[in-house]
């Protein structure tokens, strides 16, 4: 297992390098103009001389390869550069926000996995039963519903109709200190919505996996040996039924990241989302490259995690080391 992790980590280095170069290349080829993005509305009244000066100050007229190499070497030396669009060092931008995004995504992921697995097992126990049919159709509906819309719906119901939960932000809007209690209360809706948006995948995979497993020989054998229904379900069927879901854990990471971007916007969550969108449309090379590295690393780690879990859950699979 350690060898697999080590090898994957080694393999990640060229991948990350290639991805950052691709980001620079795509950004340079994109029709967006970093100077216009930087100037914003002021650019609409700026003189050409003013804009040309900005272009020189920002260094965006230099060749692609030179800019990438400079970024890479200084990033390796620990300097991630300055974000043009947010007017502050990239390390500060990321340091201030990434924790909140991780908290949101991790909570949502946990909600989706736990709830999805639990509902999936219950539904698989009585295929075609009331729970199976109702949760199943709800899952298909959720799969089609955009996270953005779910967020608005949740605000309307929980904040407006019930007045039970805050509609947005990290803390109460009027307060300027951050406390764990406030954050927890403010986390419920965004994490719930994001988790709910991911839930159908886990539910459907677990339900299918477990109900398939229930029909297989080992389970029939276990039943024949008179083991309790609980042991059969959780010890045998769930264990082999979980396998496809473990692969899913890794492959849902990119989806989780994009979902988080939308949910953060709806709930004014001070995570990395707004910065990512701004970095992309403003061709803010330094920020965009750093964020891409983080996202890529998250996806690679997600894949590694799901392979490791697979190996742990099914001794036959082993680690590719």
């Amino acid at each position: 297992m350690a060898r697999m992790t080590g090898r994957r980590a080694l393999f990640a280095v060229p991948v990350l390098g290639a991805v950052t170069f691709a980001v620079f290349a795509v950004a340079a080829a994109s029709p967006f103009d970093p100077v216009k993005a930087y100037a914003g509305t002021a650019g609409l009244t700026a003189s050409q001389e003013n804009l040309d000066q900005l272009r020189a100050n920002l260094g965006v007229d230099r060749p692609l390869l030179a800019r990438w190499w400079d970024w890479l070497t200084s990033a390796l030396a620990g300097d991630l550069g300055d974000s043009a669009v947010l007017r502050q060092p990239v390390a500060d931008v990321i340091g201030e926000r990434v924790g909140w995004s991780v908290l949101l995504a991790a909570t949502a992921f946990l909600v989706a996995i736990l709830l999805g697995t639990a509902l999936g097992v219950l539904a698989a126990r009585r295929p075609g039963g009331l729970l199976d049919r109702s949760v199943g159709s709800l899952a298909y509906t959720l799969e089609a519903a955009p996270a953005f819309w779910l967020g608005l719906l949740a605000i309307w119901f929980f904040s407006l109709k019930l007045g039970a939960l805050p509609a947005g932000g990290l803390t109460d809007t009027a307060s300027d200190t951050v406390t764990a209690g406030q954050v927890a209360r403010h986390l419920v809706l965004p994490a719930g919505v994001l988790g709910l948006a991911q839930l159908p995948w886990f539910f459907l995979y677990v339900r299918q996996g477990v109900s398939d497993a229930l029909a297989e020989d080992p389970v029939r054998g276990a039943r024949a040996r008179g083991l309790s229904e609980r042991t059969v379900l959780l010890g045998h069927a769930l264990r082999s039924g979980m396998l496809p879901m473990l692969t899913l854990v890794g492959s849902r990471v990119p989806e989780l990241i994009t979902g988080a971007l939308l949910v953060e916007t709806v709930f004014s969550w001070p995570g990395i989302a707004a910065a990512t969108v701004q970095a992309a449309v403003s061709v803010d090379f330094a920020l965009l490259a750093a964020l891409t590295v983080i996202a890529t690393a998250a996806v690679l780690a997600g894949n590694l995690l799901s392979d490791l879990l697979y190996g742990l859950a099914d001794p036959r699979v082993g680690f590719d080391g």
């Binding site: 029709p31 700026a46 947010l86 509609a167 307060s175 406390t179 406030q182 490791l308 742990l312």
Partner: protein, 535 residues
Amino acid sequence: MTARSIRGTAAAVLAGTLALTAAACSNPGGSAAGSGGRQDSVVVGIAYEPESLSPLLGYGKDGNSKIFDGLLALDADMKLRPALAEALPRVSADGLTYTYRLRKGVTFSDGAPFTARDVVFTYRTVLDPKTNYASRAELDALEDVRAIGDDTVVLTLKYPYAPFAQRTVLGIVPEHIAGRQDVNTGPFTTRPVGTGPYVLAGWSRGEKISFRANPRYWGGEPAVKNFTMAIVKDDDVRATRLRSGDLDGAILPPNLAEGFAGDRTKKTYTARTYDYRTVTLPTHNKVAGDIAIRRALDIAVDRRAMVDSLLQGAGKPAFGPVPTDSEWFAKGTERPHDLAGARKILDEAGWKPGPDGIRVKNGVRAAFPLWYLSGDKLRQDHALAYASDAKKAGIEIRTQSGTWEVIEPRMKDDAVLAGGGAPGDPDFDQYPLLTSTLAGDGFNNMARYDNPVVDKALVDGRRTDDPVRRKAAYDTVQRELVKNPGYTFLTHVDHVYVIDDAWRGLTTQVEPHDHGLASGPWWNVEDWTPKSAEK
């Protein structure tokens, strides 16, 4: 390792990571602040977040910054009044030298005294090409700035520029802080220190900016002690959070503001603006450059209908950059909707209806493309309404959407649905919009308008500070725009705000095109007093 022990380890590591993450996220030392609803705190919802809070990068350049003061400030009627200067500037007879005497006893919120050196530092820094100050063109007239002693500053101009004093509302920054770091990316851009009525309490990007009253403020400590701007980009979410009581006030589109009409605890404020929507008619286009076509379009368009249907009444028909209710508006230049008149102009100019109803002259079809910014619903609505009005007169306008990157290279030949508007002096909008030498300079004079009479009037208007001569100059410009409209001005868009009816002193200023932090009824929140405290 056996699978079982590995499972245990993995679970422990996972749990540990989660706990660490959670711990890293909770801010240390965060004690619970009091709940909302206090009479000395105000929370408003805004749609745009600034990139920086440094005046050296453009924050608060038009006045009303909460953290900074300019030498001068604008009052509710957009009249200049002294701020960090103790009086309006003394202007030399040739209009080239502006002398400001500074207010005494003012300190920055860190306790350091404010002096003439800070003013000199601020202006020299924004003039420095190495500073990424995108609005430098607005200070084009400024040649140099120097201090005489601690309390007098002299600004010298390259040429006489009548509205110059209005540019000195730019916030003044402390040299002893901002001068010691990279002005483009240093910590000052996000943690500013100024002389203004509020100090920054916190800025959680994408969520909110909170301000606390500055006890040292030279104008007296504000009654509203805590002022928070929540950043909520989506209109519907903003309306929802206002309804749930999470926000005390917000900017809203007119149709959402209507939902609060029956709410007795809230009041709706409609701010007059200079925020116009216009269609550029490029001079180099064979069709749009034709004066008969321009004049026909100018009266074929039904501005009233646009105001009523697109803006739900929250706006005014526009006949030029100057709004019809401004003192600078040339009375009698209003053009009523007159479709028959438009057809007559086209007939007389030789634009005859072709087989498909679109007019033709010398083999040229009366057709041209019109671009609008993609994703901007209001501009799209204006563009479609304009095209449909033009069609009735026999002119075919093909609307297309794109980002500025797509539109910009086409601006020379294609029409663009543009917006803009800077309140205050008529020079601010008209000079860059209409001067022929600025044709195609950045986004200035997008239509490449070229009219010698207008050029001369614009120069006259900025070089004299005699109000009568200035009024005459801008009247000339507006009359010329009737004879040769290089743009079809459509509407001036009002900005609508809904806010709790709990304070005294609420007004709105005339607002510019962009929704800066300074706009809204909270432009002077430092002067508000709670109604409940007056019983």
